[in-house]
Amino acid sequence: MMQTALLMLGVGVFAGIAGSILGIGGGMIITPILTLGMGLNIKYAIGASIIAVIATSSGATIAYLRDNVLNLRVAMFLEIATTIGAIVGALLTGVLNPKYLYLLFGCLLVFSGWNMVRKLRRGQEVLQRVEPDKIAAKLKLNGSYYDKAEMKDVDYQVENIPAGFSVMFGAGVASGLLGIGSGAFKVMAMDTFMKMPLKPSSSTSNLMMGVTAAASATVYFFNGAILPSIAVPMALGILGGAVIGSRIMQVLPAKWIRIVFIPVILYIGLQMLFKGLGVHF
């Protein structure tokens, strides 16, 4: 019992660090460890991973807020799309064939990964537009953050709001319909489509994931998918890990984060494409 608790605490610290740096929930890391590594029933693994997402989000945001990296307006504005999407996705269960969604999102993620490789090659992280975006200005979405790696304030502008909003809606549908955490999509919507710098994208994604996950977590909580002996030590580990991870993230050069992010996003993208094509491995 003590062993399980210590193991889960350790797994949690690792998942919290990784999840908070990349802006993806811990689910991608937690689920395989619990199902493949520990032979836990998938129902409990999903329950644990949704708690993991909230713990990553809450742990990361308490560290981020002090440093003002995240963009609260972008988060709340886009959260409209994500939460409505999640409801639509939940209602569409059994109506829409998930196959097409897997294909669509697999393609989007691979595209986004490729786009990130291009950004990396160009070696330029923050793009300043000469012509400010009208919608972004109206919604006050442009922001700035202090980059600890570059030791300076970075002002940035966002653009393509309708495209970002649509991808966020899709991310919500995907999480409602497919039951997957959609951190990778959220980062993609902000970084690839709205041209927001990677660090604010990642921390804003972390905040949003917590809010979206809270809705579904209540369902899992009351239908008995939460196993306290697993979920509690894991959540405690993640809270600690996420605080550490977000500190690390702030001093890491955005380029390095992108280098870690690219294989992760390509991996998730290809996995979804294969699922959509009916190939299992």
Binding site: N68, L72, A90, L207, A214, F221
Partner: protein
């Protein structure tokens, strides 16, 4: 326009630090509750319930917490953790209101409303 923008970002910093403090308290509170439950569970070796039973009705959890049953305290802590993002949305509405940003009061209230609908569908669906 330029002046208005700097004022907005300055206010925003203030808003975010207030939200950060409240959220910190919420998260740390839920962590302490979970840690107490886990500590009791590991020290006594008992979940407080027969076999693999996990309390999941709010009434049972609160009753069990009062009786210091480890699983009940752990579940209470998890539930508090689940509520922290909801707390953040609520506090954000207040913060935008203090900032007199009516547009974002409306946007954030809408998010809270959608969240409530999602919770309702989730519980009854």
């Amino acid at each position: 326009m330029a002046d208005k923008q700097t004022a907005t970002s300055k206010e925003m910093l203030q808003v975010e630090s207030v939200i950060g403090r409240i959220l910190q308290v919420g998260v740390i509170f839920s962590a302490i509750v979970m840690a107490i439950g886990l500590g009791l569970f590991l020290v006594t070796g008992q979940s407080g319930y027969p076999g693999t039973v996990v309390p999941r009705q709010m009434g049972l959890i609160l009753q069990g917490t009062w009786q210091l049953k480890p699983y009940a305290i752990m579940m209470l802590g998890v539930y508090c953790l689940i509520l922290t993002p909801v707390l953040r949305v609520i506090v954000s509405i207040y913060a935008f209101y203090k900032e007199r940003d009516h547009l974002y009061v409306a946007i954030t209230t809408l998010v809270l409303f959608i969240l409530m609908v999602a919770l309702f569908i989730g519980v009854h669906g």
